[in-house]
């Protein structure tokens, strides 16, 4: 069976106490607490995995312990040609440990696998689990005025409606930013309300003159407490609607991942037609999201003309969404067992017409943008994401594909109808903003072709099947899909009474944030907004609160590399984005 090979290899390294299989491509290995860093490091670097998600869970009701699940997507390191695992052997291996409620500590994996940093800080925030050896132990997700000893996701901590008192609004607590040492440095705050970014997030840029030396950021201004809400108020039928509202742009991808993880944990296979339409909707979402991002990347560099054109075209993709799901956001469509809305011949015909318009016009505008040397120059060499940094931090989506790593969930772990679809993974090697936008443009084209293929192969089955909800509590599974920004991973553990026990939602941007400070370094402050934009961040996706920690070991090596690409001054900047 799939995965067995890797479990075998893992048991050579550390003592594997128990192996359980959740789904055909998902296994979980329980290891000793002290072996945790070695087990994760081995799978990550030696076998070739990327960190998909890490879930902390309060399982005291089940086995009197807290549990941690480090889920790794085993697909190969992909650092060079051939550094990839066979297509039919790619799978998910989860390393599980149990933590006693008396000690509440576990050895941090971050020193050996930097990608774990946010996850481990969040484990403290939500459960009070302390990662020993984690370089930065500041709180992550909760607001600054949150009581020190209240851990919301512990089952016995509080009611999901409990709202601790706010402090007086003049006395808002200060957040402790990490500053580089040295004199003559200018500190530049950006946000949380800032005109160039749509959503709240606070960035501190540390500058020497015009050049960014380092950056720190506090996000999670939008932590809404969804995971607790889902555990308490929602049943399976309602959960999808909550998951959609993780994010207003890639909401559909969240709903699919969330519902599919629930489906996978009961081993439910949905009808083929529903699978195909799910993919159609996902690709429509990619269309409008990428058009938005390319448009914004033009806008922050002052190219309003192109921005307006791209938004004009984007309206067609919104029309498409309205046609297929009944609303401009692809909301309100997914339920367990299938979908809530079919496509008749009329819809399909109209969609094909709209797709034709989008394809023609996108090509025209993109050619015009690429013809504009000033625009291209403004994107080139800015916000370099080094390939090794991308590898270390498990970056996802166009961000990682722009750095030459061929990571795409649709290709690595084909889900739903993707088994029947042919498409090329878009990869660019420049590591800069231009490469990321190129990747997005190529994906626009492949999305259009994917939607057309789906229509052509549309199966004649029902749209929904009655889910058998004789769920077994404590069963869990993870589900994944490729949102416009990269891989979304949701993890669901079944509970009693039509409710879930634990839902962990890991949005694409969550994996992309930690490497952002490396992208900032050495750039002009005028490019800061562009760099953030090229990440296509989705603040609300990330949903909790965080700052990136200094990873002492890794950052030393990487700083040197980053300093080499120092100081690319853009003299022809049409717009000064940052108003100091």
């Amino acid at each position: 069976m799939k995965c067995d090979k890797f479990i075998e290899a893992l048991s050579q390294k550390v003592k594997v106490l128990e192996v359980t299989r959740q789904y055909e491509d998902q296994v979980t290995a329980l290891v000793e607490l002290n072996d945790l860093p070695e087990a994760v490091r081995f799978l990550y670097y030696d076998v070739g995995g990327y960190l998909s998600t890490m879930v902390a869970n309060d399982e005291r009701e089940i086995n009197k312990h807290y549990a941690l699940y480090y889920a790794l997507s085993i697909e190969g390191g992909k650092m060079f040609e051939g550094d990839e695992i066979e297509q039919d052997e790619k799978c998910f291996v989860t390393v599980k440990v149990l933590i006693s409620p008396d000690s509440l500590t576990f050895p941090s994996v971050t020193p050996v696998v930097p990608a774990c940093v946010w996850y481990e800080r969040e484990a403290y925030d939500m459960f009070g689990l302390v990662a020993e050896g984690l370089p930065d132990k500041r709180r992550l997700a909760l607001s600054d005025d949150w009581p020190e000893d209240l851990f919301p996701l512990r089952k016995d901590a509080m009611d999901y409606r409990h709202r601790p008192d706010m402090v007086d609004h003049d006395k808002e607590p200060e957040y402790n930013f990490l500053k580089p040492e040295g004199s003559g440095m200018v500190e530049l705050p950006l946000g949380p309300l800032h005109i160039t970014s749509d959503e709240p997030g606070h960035f501190r840029l540390f500058c020497d003159g015009d050049t960014i030396i380092d950056a720190d950021y506090r996000l999670f201004y939008q932590h809404r407490g969804m995971e607790k809400l889902a555990e308490n108020r929602m049943n399976y039928d309602q959960m999808g609607y909550l998951a959609e509202r993780v994010c207003g742009i890639c909401g559909y991808a969240h709903a699919i991942a969330c519902i599919e993880s629930a489906e996978k944990s009961v081993n439910l296979e949905i009808p083929a037609r529903a699978q195909a339409i799910r993919i159609v909707c996902l690709e429509i979402e990619r269309l409008h999201s990428h058009l938005l991002n390319i448009g914004l990347a033009c806008e922050v560099t002052g190219n309003y003309n192109a921005f307006m054109h791209l938004f004009r075209i984007r309206e067609y993709s919104m029309k498409l969404a309205e046609l297929v799901t009944g609303g401009r956001k692809t909301y309100g469509n997914v339920v367990m067992g299938g979908l809530r809305r079919d496509m008749t011949g009329k819809e399909i015909k109209k969609s094909l017409e709209i797709l034709q318009i989008i394809e023609v016009q996108v090509n025209e505008v993109w050619d015009a943008i690429m013809d504009d040397k000033r625009q291209v120059k403004r994107w080139t060499g800015v916000g370099i994401l080094d390939k090794q940094v991308a590898r270390d931090f498990s970056a996802v989506g166009p961000n990682v594909r722009g750095s030459g790593i061929k990571r795409d969930t649709r290709y690595d772990h084909p889900y739903d109808f993707f088994k029947h679809i042919e498409f090329e993974v878009a990869v660019a090697h420049g590591c800069d903003v231009l490469s990321r936008e190129m990747v997005r443009y190529m994906e626009l084209k492949s999305s259009i072709s994917i939607i057309r293929q789906c229509f052509e192969l549309m199966p004649q089955t029902a749209i929904i099947i009655e889910p058998e909800l004789n769920v077994k509590p404590e069963n869990f599974a993870l589900a994944y899909d490729e949102a416009p920004r990269g891989e979304n991973v949701h993890w669901v553990m079944q509970g009693n009474a039509q409710k879930i026990y634990r839902w962990r939602c890991r949005a694409a941007t969550y994996n992309n944030w930690p490497s952002l400070r490396f992208q900032f370094r050495g750039n002009n402050i005028a490019d800061a907004a562009l760099i953030v934009c090229s990440l296509d961040p989705c603040f609300s996706c990330t949903e909790r609160v965080t700052v990136v920690d200094v990873n002492s070991k890794k950052s030393k090596i990487l700083t040197n590399k980053d300093l080499k690409s120092f100081s690319r001054t853009q003299k022809d900047s049409p717009l000064k984005d940052i108003r100091c």
Binding site: R312, Y331, G332
Partner: protein
Amino acid sequence: MLKLLDISKKYGDATHKYPFEPYVVADNFRGKPAYKFDLCIGCAACGIACPSNAITVQFNEDQSKLVWEFDCGRCIFCGRCDEVCPTAAITLSNEFELAVKFDKNALIQRGELETQYCSKCNKPFSAKRLVHYGYECLSKANLGEKRLKEAENYLTVCPTCKKTATATSFTRGEEMVIE
């Protein structure tokens, strides 16, 4: 640069004329749920299905009425209520012009339904219309005269009394009959 201007020229004026001309949304657009009070039977299926609890169905203070209430401000336009409503009393319309000024109460729709009291314990448990609807369904479902008569009795008994009656007759070893 100039190429973009050519494109602008090619596609011309793209602006929608709205609000000076009406804007037409797609077929089956998910707009504001329209409530038809005359068809509502107070079954509360919509209230249970609603993910954001925008629809509530509960008794008023003196329990004389079952109040159905919908707050458009909290509605997320998912259409679950439309999907589950057995009588099409609530359907999603095409309406998208929903803004209100100063008074948020303008977003509320409500309906008061007569309460059905239990024929055994006289406690309120449902709406009269729901009982009536249940009877109508049964009368068209190929039941015999006698069974229909029995069913009519069952319908006016509250769930608690039904449970008690079942338990009593079960312990006595009798076939359960509610009169």
